[in-house]
């Protein structure tokens, strides 16, 4: 479907932290400058900029407008913004490059989840008439999903703890990960429930983060990176949000997006899945038929650092870096949005 070869050629992520006192502009500016410096290009070479963020997380309408200050948008630039994860901004940039209007695009996102009650804020994504007034909270909605999965024997609490233990252990090797611990599933299962059947380790840790990724087409990409991460397929799909109308034990939209992105065409070495809850990683793996040969979330994933609205783009950065380093040849990056894995974006990238 894609007519132009487009690749990620550089990434920058700031260390994830809790309780940052930086403004969104101060969060973003260093990663934008870092990714441009890595490439050694003039700012004016960037033909399109796209930003992902959420007004309700900043507590201010039009909060993204200030982010233009971090770009150096003078002379004026071609720029857009999505209300959502930076991974969706990456999708818009990929579309833009496909039209032939530009060759190099910079995508960035910021998520300051600790400046407000994120569980309550994300609740505002639900049906405003029937669900939000009940204020179930995002964790509770996910707990409903986990309970459904447990009761229908799709997974066990031990499976969920295994996901957490692996993520926390892998995070020990990731300098920008926030939560990390040398721990076993057995040890985790001995810990108390937070929102049953979810324990603390089952829920992604809300952190403050920002990241930037540069996309480039064809020869421009080859000139900018030694081993670009070529996007071979990318697609996103949405499920109904209605709680009683969708299966809680599978992710239909992920399966469709993965099929469209060509996930099953060959083996996947590394999959960076945006799973803010342990059971959701298992649902995603099942929806995409990811087997033993695929290393899931070597970064530790969104479970150990979940800067909402930046956590999806972080998966792209991590997956691309594993191609840059040569440690993987064919990788998958995924981003989810909405309650209980409602919307899913899947991308397959390859080294040459």
């Amino acid at each position: 479907m894609a007519r132009r070869d487009v690749a990620i050629v550089a990434t920058a992520q700031r260390p994830n932290q809790v309780g940052s006192t930086l403004t969104s502009v101060e969060l973003i500016l260093p990663v934008i400058n870092e990714v441009i410096e890595k490439l050694g290009i003039e700012r004016q070479k960037i033909g399109f900029w796209c930003h992902g963020s959420c007004d309700y997380m900043s507590g201010q309408p039009f909060s993204f407008v200030a982010a233009v200050d971090a770009i150096g948008a003078w002379p004026p630039i071609i720029e857009s913004h999505v209300e959502g994860d930076g991974a969706l901004a990456l999708y818009e940039a990929w579309v833009k490059i496909q039209t032939g209007e530009c060759d190099v695009a910079l995508v960035f996102s910021n998520g300051k989840t600790t400046s407000g009650p994120i569980d309550r804020i994300l609740n505002l994504q639900a049906d405003p008439y029937m669900v939000t007034p009940l204020w179930p909270g995002f964790d509770s909605l996910s707990a409903l999903q986990a309970r459904a999965c447990l009761d229908s024997n799709v997974l066990t609490e031990a499976d969920m703890a295994e996901v957490a233990a692996r993520s926390y252990r892998d995070a020990l090797n990731n300098p920008i990960a926030y939560a990390k611990e040398n721990v076993t599933a057995e040890q985790l299962l001995a810990r108390p429930y937070v929102t049953a059947p979810l324990r603390a380790h089952d829920c992604g840790v809300p952190v403050d983060g920002a990241n930037a990724v540069v996309l480039a087409a064809g020869d421009a990409a080859r000139g900018l990176a030694e081993r670009p991460a070529w996007i071979r397929g990318i697609d996103h799909r949405i499920d109904t949000q209605r709680l009683g109308a969708r299966s809680m034990t599978e992710s239909f939209s992920t399966a469709v997006a993965a099929h469209k992105a060509g996930v099953g065409d060959d083996r996947i070495d590394v999959a960076e899945l945006h799973a803010p809850y342990t059971h959701q990683e298992i649902l995603l793996r099942r929806a995409m038929n990811l087997g033993e040969g695929t290393h899931i979330n070597p970064s530790g994933g969104a479970l150990v650092s979940n800067p909402a609205m930046a956590a999806g783009l972080a998966r792209f950065a991590e997956a691309a870096e594993s191609v840059f380093s040569g440690s993987a040849d064919r990788v998958l990056a995924h981003c989810t949005s909405g309650p209980m894995l409602q919307q899913n974006l899947v991308c397959v990238m390859e080294g040459e």
Binding site: T21, T23, V25, G59, A66, G116, P117, L124, Y129
Partner: protein, 165 residues
């Protein structure tokens, strides 16, 4: 469907509490306000002085602002409007003049109130100075300045700059 048919609109107030950060680059500016001094910051790249140091960065150069620069306290009105519309959260009596003021030594104007003169006498180029509230009411905010008032100096010719920030 209408209220007459018994279908009512649902009123659902939403309350979310945030911790707002001014950011470390605004610290000297806010400390200045606590001490009654107007402190802006100079861009290390283009040398222009920003007051307030908006988000701590120069939007043109995408650089973190550098040295502190004391500006004002007097300034010149670059443009203004007379506000006659009440709106939620407004703390000032109507009508009032909201003006863009270019403080001496700054390169970008800031918005503040003009009082102690008739709204009809306010003009582009008028020289103004701050009137501070009682020190007991001060906090880290530009609200420490109650308003600006005319100094009586001759107007500055703002020329083609009128209306620009």
């Amino acid at each position: 469907m209408s209220e007459a048919d018994g279908i009512m609109r649902l009123r659902q107030p939403i309350s979310v509490t945030y911790n707002w950060s001014a950011g470390p680059n605004a610290t000297s500016h806010l400390n200045g306000l606590l001490a009654g001094t107007l402190i802006g910051k100079r861009c290390p790249s283009c040398s222009l002085v920003y007051f307030p140091p908006r988000n701590g960065v120069c939007p043109k150069c995408a650089r973190v602002l550098g040295d502190d620069v004391v500006v004002g306290p007097r300034g010149t009105i670059t443009t203004f409007c007379v506000v006659n519309v009440p709106f939620l959260g407004q703390k000032i009596k109507l009508p009032y003049v909201a003006a863009q003021i270019l403080l001496d030594g700054a390169d970008i104007s800031m918005q503040h109130l003009i009082q102690e003169c008739e709204a009809g006498d306010v003009r582009i180029g008028m020289r103004v100075e701050p009137v501070w509230k009682d020190r007991s009411e001060w906090g880290p905010s530009l609200e420490n300045i109650a308003h600006f008032r005319p100094t009586g100096e001759p107007d500055r010719d703002m020329g083609v700059e009128a209306g620009a920030s």
